[in-house]
């Protein structure tokens, strides 16, 4: 699709070309007229020179006749001026008709005729001075002068005739050139007017339609721009509110980050103290482990002693079995002695008493033996319990030792982990400080953004105002290009 500029440029270009053509044609016509006018002037100049030459010859003849008649030298004044002028005129005529060979020939003829006439006049004048009036009249009466004059007049007429013919021909050329120029100017101007009018109508219609569409489009766009600016202003206000809230939140976050940094610093300090305590604990655990090894050895000794005690108790039990059996045997013997004493009658009564005492003693020994056995059993049970308890204690000590090893390992691990924790806490502290710096920068950026949002809100208001003005201008422009549509 052609743009307005191209259409207008095309219209102006065609108009320019038409005007240029008309101008060229007019210029050429005027130039032709000017040249023809120069030629006409030249022809008139030639005619004036021919007439002047003939007049000079007449003046010279008039002065000759006056001198001949009167003998007065004063009448020779025209004759003398003609002698200088004729030469000059013939030379000028020769120059003026340099482009015409026919006229050059005639000028040669005229030059010889002028020379012959001036020679005849000079003879007659000399004759008058020398011979007086009468001989001179006779010579003049011979008609030589008159023939020369007639010939000269004839040549002059021929030259005039040719010049007039040239004049007529140039007048016709002028007329033709003027007619062409006139026709070109009239028709060209008319065509140019028609073209300009048509182009103006077409351009006006096209421009009106397109401008109206564009203006309506601009009007719609202005409305949309108003709506968009309104929305943008609303959004900017909401953004400004959000930015304020974000700024508050970031300030709180900043305070929290600083607290975290301080806490991380404290954690790092505490972790360093914990590392020291863990190392001290590791040493304490190592000492306790050494003590446990000593306890373990003592427990082994106790176990051995208790086992030995158990063996002794068993030996005591074996001895006690013998004692018990002896008591039983004694008892049986006493009973049997009693039986025997009873069978012996009165003689056996005293023996019976002794036997009874022996039996009682045996009973008591048996009872004591039972008690001792009970005690020995208790002792053995206690020894077994102690051995078991000691073994359990030994196992517990072993387990404790292993647990102490694990505790020592755990302490070392704790120390290592706490060292890692210290490092992590320092990294957290550093990161939190960096985060604090970043949050401060973010806060500054948010503040700048809030300022930008406020400026955006203001510019949105200006945009809305500008869009309103643009809508008004569009309406005015539409009213200008399409009043009926605008109305």
């Amino acid at each position: 699709m052609w743009t307005f500029g191209r259409k207008i440029a095309l219209g102006f270009a065609v108009s320019f070309l038409l005007l240029l053509g008309i101008g060229i044609v007019a210029y050429r016509g005027i130039d032709s007229l000017t040249r023809t006018s120069h030629l006409v002037t030249h022809t008139h100049n030639v005619l004036e020179h021919i007439a002047g030459l003939l007049s000079q010859i007449k003046d010279a003849e008039t002065g000759q006749r006056g001198f001949v008649i009167t003998g007065d030298e004063a009448y020779l004044e025209p004759y003398h001026s003609a002698i200088g002028s004729t030469t000059k005129l013939i030379k000028e005529l020769r120059d003026l008709t340099a482009d015409n060979p026919n006229q050059q020939k005639r000028i040669d003829t005229a030059d010889s005729l002028v020379a012959a006439k001036l020679a005849e006049l000079k003879r007659t004048i000399d004759l008058r001075r020398q011979a007086g009036l009468e001989p001179t009249i006779k010579v003049v009466g011979g008609g030589e002068g008159k023939r020369a004059m007639d010939d000269l007049r004839r040549v002059a007429e021929q030259m005039e005739h040719e010049e007039r013919e040239l004049l007529k021909q140039r007048a016709e050329e002028v007329e033709a050139a003027a007619g062409n120029s006139r026709s070109t100017i009239v028709f060209g101007t008319a065509f140019c007017l028609l073209f300009v009018s048509g182009a103006g109508i077409v351009l006006t219609r096209s421009l009106t339609t397109q401008i109206a569409a564009a203006v309506q489009h601009v009007q719609r766009s202005s409305t949309e721009l108003q709506s968009a600016a309104n929305q943008q202003a609303t959004g900017a206000r909401e953004s400004s509110t959000s930015m304020n809230e974000i700024t508050t939140t970031i300030s709180e976050l900043l305070a929290t980050s600083r607290q975290i940094a301080e806490s991380a610093q404290r954690v790092a300090g505490i972790a360093e103290q914990t590392v020291g305590a863990a190392r001290s604990g590791d040493g304490t655990v190592q000492k306790a482990n050494d003590s446990i090894v000593g306890i373990r050895q003592q427990v082994d000794l106790v176990v051995n002693h208790m086992l030995e005690l158990g063996k002794k108790s068993q030996q005591i039990g074996a001895v006690l079995d013998i004692v018990s059996e002896l008591a039983e045997q004694t008892n049986i013997l006493a009973i049997n002695a009693t039986i025997e004493a009873t069978g012996a009658g009165d003689a056996g009564k005293r023996f019976s008493v002794v036997a009874d005492e022996i039996r009682k003693l045996a009973d008591r020994v048996a009872g004591s033996t039972k008690e001792i056995r009970t005690l020995i059993d208790d002792v053995r049970g206690a020894v077994n319990t102690t051995v078991m308890a000691t073994e359990t204690g030994s196992k517990a000590v072993d387990a404790g030792s292993r647990q102490f090893d694990e505790v020592a390992s755990s302490f070392r691990q704790i120390a290592s982990l706490v060292a890692t924790t210290t490092e992590a806490a320092r990294e957290i502290e550093l990161s939190t400080k960096q985060q604090t710096t970043a949050v401060e920068q973010g806060n500054v950026a948010i503040a700048s953004t809030a300022q930008a949002t406020r400026e955006t809100e203001a510019s949105s208001g200006q945009t809305f105002q500008t869009a309103s003005q643009l809508a008004g201008l569009s309406k005015d422009l539409l009213r200008l290009v399409q009043p009926q549509t605008a109305a």
Partner: protein, 180 residues
């Protein structure tokens, strides 16, 4: 503390034994023993019984019994005693008890060279004559038991060795295990 108490108890017991032993030689001889009955306290299975000491001639642990094939369930076998071979009867079977464990003791009867085997020997009891021995009804007792001795508030049936020996003497298996 417990060990000290135990040591004190044992020392006290030893002192009491020594005192009793010394007292036996210090006190005058008791001649009133004729008024006392002597009993041998035994245990058949788990029940306490007594046998009159006058009914037996000797008490000895039952070490080795040579088994004999016999139609009498109460006859355990024979054993040697003071150069003689005597039969050993199971008193538990004779009294109608089940015989599970081998008996550990035997009492030699005074009237007849026969050993009566039982489980345990508790000791020698002495009680005033006719004071604490009471008859019991025959329906409630086992065979060969007619009396009960109350000593230290513990009733102990009195096994009649005479009755047992009478049964053995009759020698009939049905008589010996008539109550089984």
């Amino acid at each position: 503390m417990g060990a000290n108490d135990t040591t004190l108890g044992i020392s006290q017991k030893a002192l009491e034994l020594r005192l009793a032993f010394d007292r036996a030689f210090a006190e005058p001889a008791q001649t009133s023993s004729a008024a006392l009955d002597n009993f041998l306290a035994i245990r058949i299975v788990a029940d306490p019984h007594v046998v009159r000491l006058s009914d037996i001639s000797s008490l000895l642990p039952l070490k080795k019994v040579t088994l004999l094939p016999s139609p009498l369930p109460a006859l355990l076998g024979i054993t040697g005693f003071r150069g003689a071979v005597i039969p050993i009867f199971d008193l538990r079977v004779l009294l109608g008890y089940p015989a599970s464990e081998p008996p550990r003791w035997t009492a030699i009867a005074a009237d007849m060279p026969v050993g009566l085997a039982f489980d345990a020997f508790d000791g020698h009891l002495r009680s005033p004559r006719e004071a604490s021995v009471q008859p019991i009804s025959s329906e409630l007792t086992r065979p060969h038991v007619r009396e009960v001795l109350r000593c230290d508030d513990v009733p102990r049936p009195v096994v009649s060795v005479f009755s047992v020996l009478e049964t053995i003497r009759q020698g009939h298996p049905h008589n010996i295990s008539s109550k089984e």
